[in-house]
């Protein structure tokens, strides 16, 4: 009897009925995310020598921009934005990784380290745009 009750409890805990979809509600198009977040924040990093950080505050700003660049990759993975669960996710993850690496470099205030990430950041953009050409009407 005890075993039966335990089994029922276990089954109820792992049953699909207990799993709820995340309450995400995409409200911006992918293009809007690119224009408002990914593009300006990636520009701040890939063109760092054009506008080098001059003080701690500038470096903190750059770190936030790198973090937001990474988060924009997460936004692309949300259901209804993700075009598939394979390549799209892999490319979006590459953007997250590039942003995280840049954030790490900004914490050490190492401009050469940020500049060295140019290729990784640009490649994450190019790899995805090559497979998924952009358009203003996409969602």
């Amino acid at each position: 009897m005890t075993r039966t009750i335990a089994l029922i409890l276990l089954v109820s805990l792992v049953s699909p009925g207990t799993v709820q979809s995340p309450p995400f509600q995409p409200v911006a198009t992918i293009s809007q995310i690119m224009s408002a977040i990914t593009l300006p924040y990636s520009d701040a990093l890939v063109y760092i020598q054009r506008n080098p950080p001059k003080n701690d505050r500038d470096w903190e700003t750059l770190e936030m921009q790198a973090l937001m660049l990474a988060e924009s990759g997460n936004l692309l993975m949300i259901k209804d934005r993700a075009k598939n669960q394979e390549q799209w996710m892999k490319d979006a993850r590459a953007l997250v990784d590039a942003g995280m690496a840049a954030a790490k470099a900004t914490r050490t205030k190492d401009m050469q380290a940020v500049m060295a990430l140019n290729e990784q950041i640009v490649n994450s953009c190019v790899a995805c745009h090559t497979k998924y050409p952009s358009g203003r009407n996409e969602k």
Partner: protein, 143 residues
């Protein structure tokens, strides 16, 4: 748009060789986010700085207005490798070279142009591959 049009025309009237005309607008994500396809421009100036950076190279020029005032303009060009394939090299634009650049004005009103082609003092013209909808520099879909 009207204010920016008159602003651009006023700049031309000041002597900077800036030409503005109306052309049909087409959509292109990265271009459209920053530049105005309705605001083509042509500017003449002296090269002050060239930055070969991915994903876009930058050329900074100094242009003089009719009253002698100096304006600094930034030209967004293509990726270094794409520029080199079009005939540029790292010695193509020595500081002090006078060039004429055609392209499209930035939407934010900054002295910035998305470059289309560049003319050297000897008349030689080179094409600058960028995210420009009129030249197919990137393979992004137009809608």
């Amino acid at each position: 748009m009207t204010n920016r049009f008159f602003s651009a025309v006023a700049t031309a009237a000041c002597g900077v060789l800036l030409f503005v005309a109306t052309v049909p607008a087409r959509a292109h994500h990265s271009f459209a986010a920053e530049y105005d396809a309705d605001m083509p421009a042509k500017i003449q100036g002296i090269v002050k700085k060239v930055e070969w950076i991915n994903p876009h190279s930058w050329i900074t020029i100094e242009a003089k207005t009719a009253n002698g005032a100096v304006e600094i303009w930034e030209i967004e060009a293509g990726a270094p490798n794409a520029m080199f394939r079009r005939g540029f090299n790292k010695d193509s634009l020595p500081i002090g070279t006078e060039i004429i650049v055609s392209g499209y004005l930035a939407k934010n009103g900054l002295h910035r142009i998305n470059g289309r082609d560049l003319t050297f003092p000897d008349g030689k013209k080179l094409f600058m591959p960028t995210s420009n909808p009129f030249q197919g520099g990137e393979s992004e879909k137009k809608d």
